[in-house]
Assembly symmetry: C2
Amino acid sequence: MKRILVDELVEGMDSLVLLRGWIHKIKSFGKFAFVFLRDKTGVVQLVMEEEEILSQLKLEMSVEVKGVPVKNEKAPGGIEIQVKEIEIIGKTYYDLLPFSINEKKVKATLETELDYRYISLRRPDRRAVFKVQEEIVAAFKQYFKGEGFHEIHTPKIIASGTEGGSEMFTVNYFDRRAFLAQSPQFYKQMMAGAGFESVFEVGHAYRAELHNTWRHLNEYVSLDIETAFIKDENDLMELETGFLKDLIQHLKETCGKELEMYGITLPEIKEIPKIPLAEAQRILLEEYDKKSPAGNIDAEGEILFSQYIQEEYKSDFVFLTKYPASKRPVYTMPDQQCEGATRSFDLIYKGLEITTGGQRIHDYEMLRDNMIRFQLNPEDFGFYLDSFRYGMPPHGGFAIGLERLTMKLLELENIRAATLLPRDMNRMIP
Amino acid sequence: MKRILVDELVEGMDSLVLLRGWIHKIKSFGKFAFVFLRDKTGVVQLVMEEEEILSQLKLEMSVEVKGVPVKNEKAPGGIEIQVKEIEIIGKTYYDLLPFSINEKKVKATLETELDYRYISLRRPDRRAVFKVQEEIVAAFKQYFKGEGFHEIHTPKIIASGTEGGSEMFTVNYFDRRAFLAQSPQFYKQMMAGAGFESVFEVGHAYRAELHNTWRHLNEYVSLDIETAFIKDENDLMELETGFLKDLIQHLKETCGKELEMYGITLPEIKEIPKIPLAEAQRILLEEYDKKSPAGNIDAEGEILFSQYIQEEYKSDFVFLTKYPASKRPVYTMPDQQCEGATRSFDLIYKGLEITTGGQRIHDYEMLRDNMIRFQLNPEDFGFYLDSFRYGMPPHGGFAIGLERLTMKLLELENIRAATLLPRDMNRMIP
């Protein structure tokens, strides 16, 4: 007998069906009981009369049920199951659940939920976050494959930490010291130049930052792209806009139920405003009396500026452009038309930076000279600099933080809620 | 003017087109020259007459070309470009290429090719390997999504190395010691139990094994699945067979050109034989006079046994089943019908193990008792064992080594050739 899922139950099935899942809730009325069975697709009401087996059932046990679906307008979904047989297939060994999961709200802190991920994720609303996350990744791959990009997998164990060594985790690699990659930056550039032209990667990135905030993770999933033969950074912002437009459409088609759980209506994206950083800083000062650090805006500035963009442009997104060279990595392409600025950008979404990107320097001599200007030693860059000797074409790319995008799409308050098993300064378990 | 790709050139285009790519080859005939332009899709012949610019061209430069495509039966692809304008957009800074890449064979060792990945990958046949790899991943996701599986991303930085701590890399995680995950084993089991039921992950796995062989990597991509509510390990072997059938079909549809480059004809998969390990050991001894280690077969045994299966069953694949409990991890489900054996299996493909899988113990007490039997301390397993207290259903899964599968599909001799940027005991660069 083939298992049927809860969301496959329809009216008019009068024959025996086989269900499997967990005991979600028990409502006993003496001689009979409503037992709610939960599987990955939903919850259905079982009607049970045998006291002997009823007395053995405990919340969250795994069971296999044979029964007949019948119409009952009062039951959730309009169908209930008259149980003929029930078998316990996964026993429980607990006195009390760490927190109740069959009520409207979880009466536990986020920290406790994370400690017991194997319990909290049994709630459909908690799993919904990861359904949305899964579909973000699916939309990302689909869009960029459609644009002729190739998927790559690059090493996370790397030999040197030239792109900001102080914020990298070190690994003991046999008898040598290695690092965990902060990003696939060097490798994705290399692969664009090595003939793939356009590449993407969905992979972990590691930051040993000493932050423990609502928006930082020490291990996160980065959606990276890099593409050759671009004209300038505008090509990249156009690509990202195209992806985000597709993403909204894709999520509406695949995650209707999940978005509803979080009360989210996704607006269509038309155009994303592009504002030079200096202009954004001026607006923040004039409109909100908010001062910004040199060459950037801070977390509070991002929130205020997003409010401004929402009011002025009715957009959840805004590109900040023309960051100063002094605040961007050494490989960032200078903007010849704008003294001291680069062809780089950030994307701010509902008050949070979710992307950094830009055109890269592709000329070997220009890159080497820039390293010297940055007081870096070109010899430290080994294979990376060397790969620019062989006709590297103009190129650029960007990276999207998957958990940040998920968090903001669902308007969650903490990035850990958008992470299956977060890693931060205090948390390595589970 | 929009760029056109080489493989988009067709006969009858008489107007000006814009091409971008690398200088693949130059054949000079004094007053004119054939210059071959290579982009990610192919190579086209340019006809050039201007000596001045010709003298500046160097192999592997990036260029932008405007020209008119005309028919020429002698040109590769039957079309050549009469060049009107050519511009160098990516300069070269080398005296000699490390090795020639426009000849039929690469005159360099694999090690040299890997040292210069940014050169060797410019060869279409080298990139072809990763096109196949990309499509393996695409087929994997498509198949398992179709089967109701959910994609997950689990941490690679983990707190304890209970699944064989001696072969793990250690990470300095702030002021603590952490490990790089050998597999997502514990987490994928946890997620199957936490209500996702069926999950897959495409992610890096790390093995600090002191091997440097043609089939070992210290960092590799693992295609992992785990699924709840199974009957036994046969459900898993059926799933993997289904995937492999789909994969062959998918590769035929998407990688025709690439398979041809390697002279590969992929046979359709009908059924994959399942042979108990003890039976395989007996056959190896009787047919090949080959002795096997206790509870396993070695690398030579895998090759010989694959030959046997090819002769007897006309199959490239064979499942070895019923491994003894003493040779499998502590969480492996014992086979009640076969004394000392477990419900686990390996999949051997053309003489190489590409999968290990099996049903897991899902009962808390049984798992705890098995830990004690294995002389392990249940307390060391913390959250993992704890997650079995809450109605863990019967479940199991398997993992496929992506690079191993790629290597064997294309009949490459070394796993490093199927790895973009391999990590082994000696190699951390590039």
